[in-house]
Structure formats: structure tokens, C-alpha cells
């Protein structure tokens, strides 16, 4: 990394003398070259991380990252910033744990503060069935070497004193599990940090450049048509979340994906009152408090297909009802903003990372409601898949072929919220 670009206490002091008016742009805005060694379509977290690891792990630096808008303003800037790796199946545990481990060192690696806060992530049980299910998950997760434990009611009360633990509530809480390494990070910083680090290694980030088609000759991809002209590359990786089906349609194959809005909302800022992340499958909400004091909450997807980045009011009402059920103390808190992101949902709620029917065209999609937590791991294995033309061993189970072979990875219960 170039010295003059490195962020530190000294660069902060130096720039303070100039009233912070002379900071260099964090990444360039270059003109597109006619050809690259690889193109990544999609400037969200997954695309940016892929470009970064292509350059860092595989030495492929002649890379263009193409984004139709500004980077990081899709789902990367619209999620509830929750990070965890407490997944049931071995395949999922491997990829989400890789991601969490990379997150743990990311601020240092990128020289960019991602504000990772491993405050612990609590999942609630409201029935005997819930309780047995989370106990089973805790044991499965521990067998994969990932931290996870059951909490007694006394420990839960100590951890979250404001949680409604009355046995007389509509859906009484009867137990909980926790992943202590789970937590949150600043979502914008993930996009900006990866963008800056990728740019530093030579990746051209082309914002406001929309892909309008692929040039495919004899089953091999030759490049992409964009609103700024044709750009050639022997390898093209697509990481466009909700728009994956639209791009697959351009390339001439079908995907098992439906695009749905996933909504989230924040309250007015409050003083620090809630220092973990809480999830409940039965009353269906997940909730944390941001560093600015806002309560951040979300739940399941809207049931119908949509490409409009807004959520439907019935879901909003459900989320707030669930929040007030668990935290009667928040009943008078005002909501400030509500929004939706378009998530790409697979039939088995697991992602697709790997090759496609078109040679040289690679696909990374289907992360559905769990895209943010998986950014570093997804980028790491996808970069390997593109560089080697062979799936990374952690990505291999997540191939598109699993829908023909039947080797699905059913993670519908994974988020601790029903989908």
C-alpha cells in the first residue's frame, strides 16, 4: 500500500492542519480500458471483496469492477449489519466461519476501520420445540469448532435486563443460545474499505457503468456490453444479488432464484440500552442498537417477487409488533426510516457460488437474507473460483449443479428467523 494513502493517527493529524480539505480520494475513477484479465460485475460487498482477493491472493490486478450506480448502495448499504457464523450444516459453517474469521482481521488488513463489534448474538426460544432446536444447533455448531452456547434464563436476564421475560407474555421466552463472536460491523466501511484496497492494487472501479449484455462466442464469454461501450475479458464474475436473474437471462440460462424485498428500519437515536444482537424466530424479529443509538431491526422477506427497493406495510407492522412484544420498553420509540433491499432467494436458502453453463462466466448469488455477514468469505472463495477456473473447496458444495443432483443445503432455519 502506498505510504501517502495509509490512514493513521499521523495522517489524521497532518490533514487536520489543512482543515481536512486535502484528503486524497479513496479510489480512482478511471476511464474503462478496452480489455482486462477479468471483469467483476456488481459493486456491492461481494463484488468488491472478490476484486480485492483476485488482486491480493491470485495476483490478478488487471481487473475491472463494473457497477451501474455508486458502489455499496444496494444491499450492502441496506442491511442490518449482523455478522455471525452459527449455521447448522457443515458446508454453511465452513463458508460463514471463513467469513467471520476474515472479518475479525479486516480492519487491520484493509487499513480501514470496519467498526467490528463482537457484542454477542442471542437467539430466543419460545417453545419446547424451539428450545430443542436451538440446543441441537448449538451442539452441531460446536462440533464444527465454532463458538456457541446455551444461556440460562438467569444469564439471559443479566445480559438483556430490558427483555420481557414474563411467563405471562403472549409468547414467553423459555431459553436462549448465544454466539459470543457474533455482532455487527459498519456496512458502508466494508464496501469502501474493500474498494480502496482493491483500487490500491490496481483494480479499476467503474461506477455508473451498467452491463447491458454479454458477448458470448461458441459457449465462451468474451466480454460485456456496457453503457460505456464493450469491455473485453476472458473471465467475468457476476455478483449482483437481486438482479442475478436479469443477468443470467442476458447470458441465456435460468436460475432457481426469486427476487424479494427484505426490509429494515431504524428508530430515533436512544442512549445505550441494548448491547447485544437479538433474534427471535417465533415472534420474528432481529434487533440491535447502532453506535449512533438507533435501534436497527428487520425480519423476513416480503412474500411476492419485486425489484422495487421498498417494503410492504404488513411486514413492517409485524416487525414492530414483535419488537414491542419482546421489549415493551420500546413501545413509544419513534421510527425514523424504513427501506427495502432486493435479495436473491434460492429454494434451499443457500448461495450459488461457481461456474455457469457459459465458459468463463462465474456466478456468485443467492445469498438471500444473509449476504452481509458472508462478504469476505464469499469474495475469497469466488476469487479463487475465477482465478483457478475451479471451485474453491469451500465453494464446491454451493454449485448451480446441486439443483440437478439434489444435494441441496437446506438452511431455511439458519437465521433463527423463519423465512
Amino acid at each position: 500500500m502506498k505510504k501517502n494513502k495509509r490512514y493513521s493517527i499521523f495522517s489524521l493529524a497532518r490533514n487536520a492542519r489543512n482543515y481536512h480539505e486535502n484528503w486524497a480520494a479513496a479510489w480512482r475513477s478511471p476511464e474503462p480500458k478496452p480489455s482486462y484479465d477479468a471483469i467483476i460485475v456488481g459493486g456491492g460487498g461481494h463484488g468488491l471483496a472478490t476484486a480485492y482477493y483476485l488482486a491480493k491472493q491470485h495476483g490478478i490486478t488487471n481487473v475491472a469492477l463494473i457497477e451501474k450506480g455508486p458502489i455499496g448502495l444496494g444491499n450492502t448499504g441496506r442491511n442490518t449489519t449482523v455478522i455471525r457464523s452459527n449455521y447448522l450444516w457443515d458446508e454453511s459453517a465452513a463458508i460463514y466461519e471463513l467469513s467471520l474469521k476474515l472479518y475479525e482481521g479486516l480492519s487491520q488488513e484493509l487499513n480501514y476501520n470496519i467498526m467490528l463489534s463482537q457484542r454477542g448474538l442471542v437467539s430466543l426460544a419460545h417453545s419446547q420445540h424451539d428450545l430443542r432446536e436451538i440446543e441441537r444447533r448449538v451442539n452441531a455448531i460446536r462440533l464444527n469448532g465454532i463458538d456457541s452456547e446455551m444461556l440460562s434464563m438467569a444469564e439471559l436476564k443479566q445480559l438483556i435486563p430490558i427483555l420481557n421475560l414474563s411467563p405471562n407474555s403472549r409468547y414467553p421466552v423459555i431459553g436462549a443460545s448465544i454466539q459470543r463472536r457474533g455482532g455487527t460491523a459498519r456496512h458502508d466501511a466494508i464496501a469502501w474499505g474493500y474498494a480502496r484496497a482493491a483500487d490500491d492494487r490496481g483494480v479499476d472501479i467503474l461506477q455508473h457503468t451498467e452491463v447491458t449484455g454479454f458477448r458470448i462466442q461458441g459457449g465462451r464469454v468474451e466480454g460485456v456490453e456496457t453503457t460505456r461501450g464493450f469491455i473485453a475479458a476472458p473471465k467475468v464474475g457476476v455478483a449482483v444479488a437481486g438482479h442475478s436473474s436479469v443477468l443470467a437471462d442476458m447470458a441465456g440460462f435460468r436460475l432457481p432464484i426469486s427476487s424479494h424485498p427484505l426490509q429494515a428500519m431504524v428508530s430515533e437515536p436512544l442512549k445505550p440500552i441494548f448491547n447485544t444482537v437479538l433474534m427471535s424466530a417465533a415472534v420474528h424479529v432481529y434487533l440491535s442498537q447502532s453506535d449512533r443509538g438507533e435501534l436497527v431491526m428487520g425480519a423476513g422477506i416480503d412474500k411476492f417477487n419485486s425489484y422495487a427497493q421498498r417494503g410492504s406495510p404488513p411486514i413492517l407492522e409485524d416487525i414492530l409488533a414483535a419488537t414491542v412484544e419482546l421489549f415493551p420498553i420500546f413501545s413509544r420509540v419513534k421510527m425514523m426510516r424504513q427501506w427495502g433491499g432486493i435479495v436473491d432467494v434460492c429454494p434451499d436458502a443457500s448461495p450459488i457460488v461457481g461456474k455457469t453453463p457459459v465458459s468463463g462466466l462465474y456466478l456468485n448469488c443467492g445469498w438471500g437474507t444473509g449476504g452481509f455477514k458472508s462478504i469476505p468469505g464469499s469474495g475469497f472463495v469466488f476469487a479463487h473460483t475465477i482465478a483457478q477456473d475451479e471451485p474453491h473447496e469451500i465453494a464446491a458444495p454451493f454449485s448451480l449443479e446441486r439443483f440437478s443432483t439434489g444435494a441441496l443445503i437446506d438452511e431455511h432455519g439458519a437465521s433463527g428467523v423463519a423465512h
Partner: protein, 93 residues
């Protein structure tokens, strides 16, 4: 909030309905003869257009009957409500 014109009950709020996903997926006539890829296409592959989608809805908290609609997935505008078994329009997806 969608306002959906149930063919039997009239216009009601979205909350009364369940969305059954893409319409017009016909069960294969000779399942024994399908390849794995054809099974995958029938079971899992979906038309997911940014534009007009034909989909099935059920008036779960009303007459409990199924019907089809054509809806724009960007504007959410409902362009047509029609009975199960009625063919899609040529202009639809």
C-alpha cells in the same frame, strides 16, 4: 400495500392473500422420462423478470380460492386478474 382485486370477493388488502409464486408451471406429463436437468428446471428454476410476472395468489383470509394475476415487479401495478387454468397473454411473461 397491494390492493388485490379478488375475482370472487372484490378489492382487498394484500394482508388477506398468500402469494404462490410463478404461475403456469405445468407438472411434467411423463415424469419417468425426465432427465435430472429437466427435473431441476421444473422444480427449482424460476422466471424472475424485472417487469411483468404472471403469478398465483390465494385469498387465504377470504374465499380461500386461487387465481392468477399479472403484476409489474417494479411498479407493483396489477395489470390483469384471471382464473386458474386460463392461459397467459402473449405479451405477458
Amino acid at each position: 400495500m397491494l390492493r388485490i382485486e379478488c375475482p370472487h370477493c372484490g378489492a382487498r388488502d394484500e394482508a388477506e392473500f398468500s402469494c404462490g409464486g410463478e404461475a403456469h408451471i405445468a407438472r411434467p406429463k411423463e415424469p419417468d422420462k425426465l432427465s435430472d436437468a429437466e427435473w431441476a428446471d421444473y422444480l427449482y428454476m424460476r422466471t424472475n423478470p424485472k417487469g411483468i410476472l404472471a403469478e398465483r395468489w390465494c385469498h387465504t383470509f377470504g374465499c380461500r380460492r386461487w387465481f392468477n394475476i399479472e403484476r409489474d415487479t417494479v411498479s407493483h401495478e396489477i395489470l390483469r386478474v384471471y382464473a386458474m387454468g386460463e392461459p397467459r397473454r402473449e405479451s405477458g411473461t
